[in-house]
Amino acid sequence: MASSNENTRNQWAQIANELADDLASTTDEELLLELKDDGVDISAEATRIRNLISGVIAEHGKEKLAAARSEMDLRNRQEQDLGIQITQEIRSKLTEYIKAGDSTITGALTIAARNGAELSEEDLDEVIHALFDLGKIDEHGNLL
């Protein structure tokens, strides 16, 4: 059996629904007259509600941005996990391939490098990433 409080809530809900329905059927012109008659400061109340809603919109925007950044961070981490972890051993292997003039490798090198200019460690790492992405080497630096 419903408690007294529950009955009261339900009773008020019925009244509130009817009040809201009547409000919805009130034209803007009628409502304007009503508010003036009731001495409501329309501008002040409108400003208050406008600011309330603006706050919700701003908060929603921040939450969306934070969620998008989290998703991006997760995606980046996943991509990194799938990437090749460059070790000195892999660098050594690739240096040998280059010295040997392996055709798989020379295609990934800059013209300067093909002409024998020394590759910096950073350049070598870039080549290794490129070759891995192209499927030319596996994660251990072995030619495929």
Binding site: E18, L19, E29, L31, D38, I53
Partner: protein, 201 residues
């Protein structure tokens, strides 16, 4: 004739897109904002929400897509319906919770309302009334219409959870007569709410 809503440059079938929602929210008039505020003040009493919280929650649900705004419904009417559904769900969850109303309430005879504790929700100051005073708000509304027999009868019908149609049938009222009485009730209730007597915020 504009009735409770704002106009959009374009409309799509079904429900409004996120762009249309943002456009509509930005295009609300002063009357739209006040209309929303009034609806919230009607729905909030007896729930765990303050009126402003109800508005915020309704907007939140519109923005996050958990409620979709049909193209054939005015924005303020839609938001009013969202608030109605929010408080309906709140009532279902609160069956055993004591009645919660804003702090400024005093009894109709000038006595202070006793309070047990302050309770949870958001920005409004809310206190819990002891159970014996739980019918006070309904009684306050009925007292407003002591000299208005038609309004009293309609309110009693609503308090007994009769539908508008059932009340009309019972009292022999046509739609126009019923709507006239309903309008009179709302106008008087407005004043009581603005004065804090019905605890709308």
């Amino acid at each position: 004739m504009r009735r409770g809503g704002c106009e959009l440059a374009t409309e799509s079938k079904g429900t409004r897109s996120p762009v249309e929602v943002r456009q509509a929210l930005a295009g609300m008039s002063d009357i739209d904002y006040v209309r929303l505020s009034k609806a919230a003040k009607y729905f909030a009493p007896g729930t765990s929400f303050a009126a402003d919280d109800l508005i915020q929650e309704a907007i939140r649900r519109l923005l996050d897509g958990s409620r979709n705004w049909p193209t054939d419904v005015q924005l303020t009417t839609f938001l009013s319906n969202v608030m109605k559904s929010i408080v309906w769900a709140d009532r279902r969850q609160s069956k055993s919770r004591p009645l919660i109303v804003p702090i400024e309430s005093t009894g109709p005879f000038g006595q202070r309302n006793n309070v047990d504790a302050s309770v949870q929700h958001s920005s409004a100051e809310e206190v819990v009334l002891i159970e014996g005073e739980s019918d006070e708000r309904i009684n306050e509304v009925l007292r407003l219409f002591e000299d208005d027999e038609d309004a009293s009868m309609v309110l009693m019908g609503l308090s007994d959870e009769m539908s508008a149609q059932e009340i009309r049938d019972e009292l022999g009222l046509d739609s126009t007569s019923y709507n006239t009485i309903r309008r009179r009730i709302r106008r008087k209730a407005n004043k009581a709410i603005e004065e804090g007597r019905l605890n709308g915020k």
